[in-house]
């Protein structure tokens, strides 16, 4: 029973070692997250399809809905909740405002480790002849 102090000290050291990565991470910027650049063009052309935070969460769903409505129902006009109209097109609407795919879409996706296969077919107007 006299080892009580030793045991507690040992435990504290053990826990401290286990938590050390978290303490060392504090204050460094290795955990900052991606910082996608909203291009000047996008700012000039105005609001996105949804609010910014919603867009970050929902854009893949919207794109999925768009392509089904376009390809299956020939519907090409999208009306946002506040009445703005957009042509439903990945290359010609999203990338028309977000004309910096590398600093915008790609930066986020690299961070999140997603590689949408869309660009195997869909053209980035800036990259092709």
């Amino acid at each position: 029973m006299n080892d009580k102090i030793k045991i507690i000290a040992g435990l504290i050291i053990f826990v401290a070692i286990c938590l050390s990565p978290f303490f060392m991470g504090l204050g460094s910027d290795s955990n900052k997250g991606p910082d996608p650049v909203i291009s000047e063009t996008a700012k000039k052309k105005g609001k996105c399809i949804l609010e910014k935070t919603e867009m970050a969460k929902q854009h893949m769903v919207i794109l999925d809905q768009w392509r089904n409505s376009v390809v299956r129902d020939a519907q090409r006009v999208y009306t946002t909740k506040d009445g703005k109209r957009f042509d439903m097109s990945l290359s010609n609407t999203c990338l028309d405002c977000h004309d910096n795919k590398k600093e915008f879409c790609d930066r986020c996706h690299d961070y999140a480790s997603v590689t949408p296969y869309c660009w195997d077919c869909h053209i980035n107007p800036k990259e092709v002849k």
Partner: protein, 267 residues
């Protein structure tokens, strides 16, 4: 004890049915997410028909015109050309992709090969393309519903769902479909930035310019064909399009197979 067991079995039975039905209903829903009601609509200029059809007047055709039609379509839809591939070792005539192209009469109409064919057919090529059949065998063959019959009669591909199994190519009696054996982009010299390319491993074919009809334009082939190609509504009896069919004798390709092609040839 006895009662408890009965109850347990009842609940287990109901749960088993539920477990069996749930995946079946969600499987049906896969990829069927559409824009919510009221937020998506057609462009006001959209061209609509009850059943789209095509009439091709072979009397107005020349080989040069055929070449021009094919080229215009392929440019519009980013269809690759083997000749554009820089590295000659990578060119392969078997990898050719075609949406609309010219065939000799005897190859286009395999069941109408007369021994003494009218002279005029020796000098032209018959434009062949997807027939947008009323009973399309490709649609029945497609395991993912990537190829489907749209209500207005266009047999369309949803490239997003194509897994490249090529059942549709085996099923199509007209050879209207091509497979991307390799990345098509090196074969495209100049891109139409309004239309996507395809990728290695998917099948493709004529879409009757669905993307142009949706914004009120006629198909490219019709526009450059100097009157040889006309599209219209097969079910609109009073249209000029139907008048073409009334005034002329027309044939269709491999009619005996029963796929009911929507492409009619004036011969």
């Amino acid at each position: 004890m006895k009662n408890n067991r009965r109850d347990f079995l009842k609940i287990a039975g109901v749960a088993a049915i539920g477990a069996a039905v749930k995946p079946a209903t969600s499987a049906y829903a896969i990829g069927e997410q559409f824009v919510p009601e009221g937020q998506a609509e057609n462009k006001s200029s959209v061209k609509k028909a009850t059943k789209w059809g095509v009439v091709i007047d072979t009397n107005k055709l020349t080989k040069e015109l055929m070449h021009k039609i094919s080229k215009a379509c392929h440019l519009e839809h980013n269809v690759p050309d083997e000749k554009n591939i820089e590295n000659e070792d990578h060119r392969n005539p078997n990898h050719e992709i075609k949406w609309i192209w010219g065939e000799e009469f005897k190859h286009a109409f395999t069941d109408k090969t007369d021994r003494y064919l009218a002279d005029k057919f020796e000098h032209i090529e018959i434009p062949v393309l997807c027939n947008h059949c009323v009973n399309p065998s490709c649609v029945k063959a497609c395991p993912t519903k990537a190829t489907f019959s749209r209500e207005d009669g266009i047999v369309l591909m949803d490239f997003h769902r194509c897994i490249g199994c090529r059942f549709c190519m085996a099923a199509c009696p007209f050879g209207s479909r091509s497979f991307n054996f390799k990345d098509p982009r090196p074969g495209i010299k100049k891109h139409n930035k309004k239309f996507p390319t395809r990728m290695k491993g998917v099948v493709e074919k004529c879409n009757l310019c669905a993307e142009r009809l949706a914004v009120g334009k006629n198909p490219v082939c019709m526009e450059v064909s100097e009157g040889a190609i006309t599209i219209g509504d097969l079910e609109n009896e009073t249209s000029d399009f139907r008048k073409l069919l009334k005034d002329n004798y027309t044939i269709r390709r491999k009619q005996s197979l029963g796929t009911e092609p929507s492409v009619y040839y004036i011969v």
